[in-house]
């Protein structure tokens, strides 16, 4: 095969993919070093060294010269460090960090087929050089063998090669026969073997080298070519190569006929006498297992490959599998429904089988989903660098703390996570943290600001939380800005939370000047939109002077959902099981109306806003009296609870999510759709969206026609959170609060606890 039909480009994708993974690893380990430079894990250094080594290896193959050059120096320094020749200090770690950043940039540049101007990183390169080679300028760093390129004329010469192998040659699996073959390819070869040292057959040790040879090679090749034949064995043999004029007689081997046939024929004079012996001897030391070597055992290969512990699979294939499993779940649900319609005796017969089928289907599904799950570590690993860069750009002192890197989430979610997360971090550093360390000192805080990044699983979702200990959201400024931008009216009365939430409004940006950090033309509104496209939510909590907390909540997977099928009128909806806390039928006495039009259910002393689905979606024939229907209590964003009014619960079912956005259009209060066992489409409720819809509806109702048909427990001016309501109640009328609590617990409500 020639290089022509070998297209290296096809490996570039793998290379860059691998580089990305390697860099993440290096980043993570460098961060470890940074945290505890005095207590270095040797494996960290080794691993970083290997990263750079691998990057360099691949870069060499693709001729990314700039990358190779830099990686070489970086690698050399790391090598000295891991040998313990250079002590690890804070300065060195900082240098390594910048070297890593440059490496990242150079890889990126190589990927985009551009060159980075040398002056961009010459400083770091010089520093590395100085440490790695004790010299500042990159000159004789390449320790390449200075090949003695003898400019020889292409004339036919005779080489006399005396070759006397040592036992090591054979022990290293080198093979004189192969050397002979290689020389034969160079020209006309005459072989003279010397078997003087060959003992009797009983005394032959297979590893011992008994033969020596003298070769005469007539060829127009260069001396280098001949030397190259013995490249691997020069140390393991006594070798002497002489060039002789074609016309001259060989000195060393004058007694032998020059036309002696090659060694394969085993036909030298001395050998003939002990032919049988010699053949066996030859085979013993030099060609130990030609038969087995040539014929690999047929089972060997498959057995061996089975033991490889991990493989890379294209995401497409996994997706196809996930889709098919989704269809399988639907088919299984359909079949089960049909079995339920069978006569009882037949149904019972089938039931056991279907139970098993259901279980197996579920297991398949879980296994397939697990294939797609990855720790968020890969996304988190990029953040330290981001924080470092931003902090130095902004002149702030910031420390990043991360936790929950090992939290797993679907690969598609991971991919979508990076951008919003980057934005949140940027926002925290740029707007959250005080302008200067001095400002922080004045505010009585340590100069070093802390940004915390954490991930955790919560009720079937992943929560990614970015917290800073900065100045918090300046509500007055936000409000003024929102009025200026026409997002709210001057006289609009907003709660603190509502003001904080304004930062997610389209067209909102509080930075007086667009900085090159946050001001990238992308506002938090885009972040929110992107996250909600994923079925996620982002919210902010802020305490002035203390800091800000962004909470991003995303589904763990975008493919399936454990749902509760509920009926309202003739319609069926799915509520995510993970959101459901309980279901109950409230007594009439537990229902209350607030003056703002909101309906609440009192439950164990807490007030839960009631969401009437039939009203929001205009569904005829639904049970309107909550005391005759069911209230499904669900948890929404921020740990709040709302009660969704439904006619009945039909059962728990795993459903395959079909995107509404992709197949139709986004609908308020609906997150997606699915296909039920009977082939009907059912909508999956977005409980947060419903809460928002219900608030708007009740607000509107309240301002429109001032319905107030029940004596109020409390009156509130604006949209109230349940917690606020309860607090107010607790503050104002503790007796009532207690009375209500007792009442609620005494009353036996019909309750369906939903177990997961």
């Amino acid at each position: 095969m020639s290089t022509n039909d070998f297209d290296l480009d096809q490996f570039k994708a793998t290379y860059f993919e691998e580089c990305a993974e390697l860099l993440i690893d290096a980043e993570t380990r460098l961060a470890d070093l940074q945290h505890s430079p005095e207590n270095v894990d040797a494996e960290d250094l080794n691993a970083i060294f290997r990263v750079v080594h691998s990057v360099k290896g691949g870069a060499g193959a693709f001729s990314f010269d700039q990358l190779v050059g830099f990686a070489h120096i970086y690698e050399a320094l790391l090598d000295r460090m891991r040998q313990g020749e250079i002590q690890i200090t804070e300065d060195i770690v900082t240098l390594l960090l910048s070297a890593n950043d440059i490496l990242t940039n150079l890889i990126q540049a190589a990927q985009n087929d551009i060159t980075v101007p040398e002056e961009d990183f010459i400083d770091v390169k010089n520093k590395l050089n100085l440490l790695a080679f004790d010299q500042p300028v990159n000159s004789s760093t390449e320790e390449g063998e200075t090949e003695t390129t003898i400019s020889e004329e292409k004339s036919t010469k005779k080489y006399i090669i005396s070759f006397n192998p040592k036992p090591e040659l054979l022990q290293h699996a080198n093979e004189p026969l192969l050397l002979v073959r290689e020389m034969k390819a160079l020209g006309e070869l005459t072989t003279i073997v010397n078997t003087d040292r060959l003992p009797s057959i009983q005394k032959i040790i297979s590893d011992e080298a008994y033969f020596s040879w003298v070769f005469e090679l007539v060829s127009d090749c260069s001396l280098t070519d001949v030397e190259e034949v013995f490249e691997f064995v020069t140390e393991d043999c006594d070798l002497d190569i002489k060039i002789e004029d074609e016309t001259q007689k060989p000195e060393d081997v004058s007694s032998q006929p020059t036309s002696a046939p090659p060694i394969e024929d085993n036909s030298t004079k001395t050998l003939e006498t002990t032919k049988k012996q010699a053949v066996e001897a030859m085979q013993a030391p030099t060609i130990p297992t030609p038969a087995t070597v040539g014929k690999p055992t047929p089972t060997g290969n498959s057995q061996a490959s089975q033991r490889v512990s991990s493989i890379r699979v294209e995401l497409d294939r996994v997706d196809r599998l996930v889709n098919m499993v989704g269809e399988l779940v639907i088919t299984q649900a359909m079949l089960r429904q049909q079995v339920d319609n069978l006569p009882p005796e037949l149904a019972a017969f089938m039931a056991k089988g279907f139970e098993d089928l259901g279980m197996h289907t579920r297991e398949i599904q879980e296994s397939v989903m697990a294939v797609r799950m990855q720790p968020v570590k890969s996304v988190f690993a990029r953040i330290p660098r981001l924080v470092r860069e931003l902090a130095s750009k902004l002149g702030k002192k910031v420390e990043l703390e991360t936790s929950g890197e090992h939290t797993e989430v679907d690969k598609t979610v991971i991919e979508q996570l990076s951008d919003p997360l980057t934005h949140m971090i940027r926002n925290s550093l740029d707007h959250g943290i005080e302008e200067t360390p001095e400002d922080r000192k004045k505010a009585g805080k340590p100069e070093l600001a802390t940004v915390t990044l954490s991930a955790e699983h919560r009720s079937g979702r992943i929560h990614i939380i970015v917290t800073d200990d900065g100045r918090g959201i300046n509500r007055e400024r936000v409000r003024a800005k929102a009025i200026e931008k026409g997002i709210i009216n001057v006289d609009e009365n907003l709660s603190d939370e509502a003001i904080d939430d304004l930062i997610f409004s389209p067209g909102f940006s509080t930075a007086e000047e667009v900085t090159d950090v946050s001001g990238r033309g992308v506002g938090m509104d885009v972040v929110r939109r992107n996250i909600s496209n994923l079925g996620g939510r982002i919210s902010v909590q802020s305490t002035p002077g203390k800091g800000t907390k962004f909470i991003m909540s995303l589904p763990l997977t975008l493919a399936v959902l454990d749902g509760m099928v509920v009926a309202i009128g003739k319609e069926k909806f799915i509520i995510s099981l993970t959101a459901i806390i309980e279901s109950l039928r409230p007594a009439k006495t537990e229902l209350h109306n607030l003056s703002n039009g909101a309906e609440v259910v009192s439950l164990r002393g807490e007030y839960i806003r009631l969401v009437r689905l039939h009203r929001l979606f205009n569904i005829p024939g639904a049970q309107k009296d909550p005391s005759q229907a069911l209230v499904v209590v669900v948890e929404i964003e921020g740990g709040k609870q709302v009660g969704i009014l439904v006619d009945e619960l039909l059962g728990q079912q795993q459903v395959v999510i079909k995107s509404l956005e992709e197949n139709y259009d986004p609908v308020d209060g609906i997150s997606a759709a699915t296909i039920l066992g009977n082939g009907m489409v059912a909508l999956i409720l977005d409980v947060d969206g419903l809460d928002a819809m219900a608030r708007q509806a009740s607000h509107k109702q309240n301002t429109d026609d001032e319905i107030d048909n029940q004596p109020d427990l409390l009156t509130t001016d604006t949209d109230e959170e349940k917690s606020t309501t309860t607090n107010q109640l607790a503050n104002s009328r503790p007796e009532d609060q207690e009375a209500l609590t007792n009442k609620a617990t005494e009353e036996k409500t019909q309750r369906y606890e939903v177990m997961e």
Binding site: M1, T3, D5, F6, L8, Q10, F11, T14, Y15, E18, N46, A47, F49, R50, H53, S54, G57, G58, A59, G60, A61, S63, V68, E142, E143, G144, E145, E168, L170, Q171, H172, A173, N174, E175, L177, L178, E182, E231, F232, E235, D236, I287, P288, T289, P290, T292, V293, G294, K295, P296, T297, G300, N301, Q303, A304, S305, R307, V308, S309, R312
Partner: protein, 121 residues
């Protein structure tokens, strides 16, 4: 008849390239990501050639060489070591642990086949 070659490298790119080149030349290739995996993959099965990187996690290429040489089954299996520099030291180290030969990176498919040919019957 193709050879059965084990290629050991922690870099997937490198394994891919070695593997692609050898398969293109009609050889069978099995892969391992480090020395430990290589030994596991090898087990008691004979291969015709081992090509290994030096710097790898868990078990490096030189240790792998030693391990392979100390196993009677693989005692005489040719081992080629991939080195980045034409660094005399690495070659000597390789030799001292029983490597048959070496391939100097950067990777070059032609050179690889040439060297494979050099050490394999």
């Amino acid at each position: 008849m193709g050879l059965k070659v084990l290629t050991v490298d922690d870099s997937k790119t490198m394994r891919d390239m070695v593997s692609f080149t050898l398969k293109g030349a009609g050889h069978n290739v099995i892969e391992a990501a480090d020395g430990c995996e290589a030994l596991r993959v090898l087990g008691g099965d004979r291969v015709d050639l081992v090509i290994t990187d030096v710097n790898m996690p868990n078990m490096d290429g030189l240790t792998l060489c030693k391990e392979i040489r100390s196993n009677p089954t693989h005692r005489l299996t040719p081992i080629l070591v991939l080195t980045t520099e034409s660094d005399g030291n690495k070659k000597n180290e390789g030799r001292s642990v029983g490597a048959t030969g070496w391939i100097v990176k950067p990777f070059n498919p032609e050179k690889l086949l040439q060297v494979v040919n050099k050490v394999c019957p």
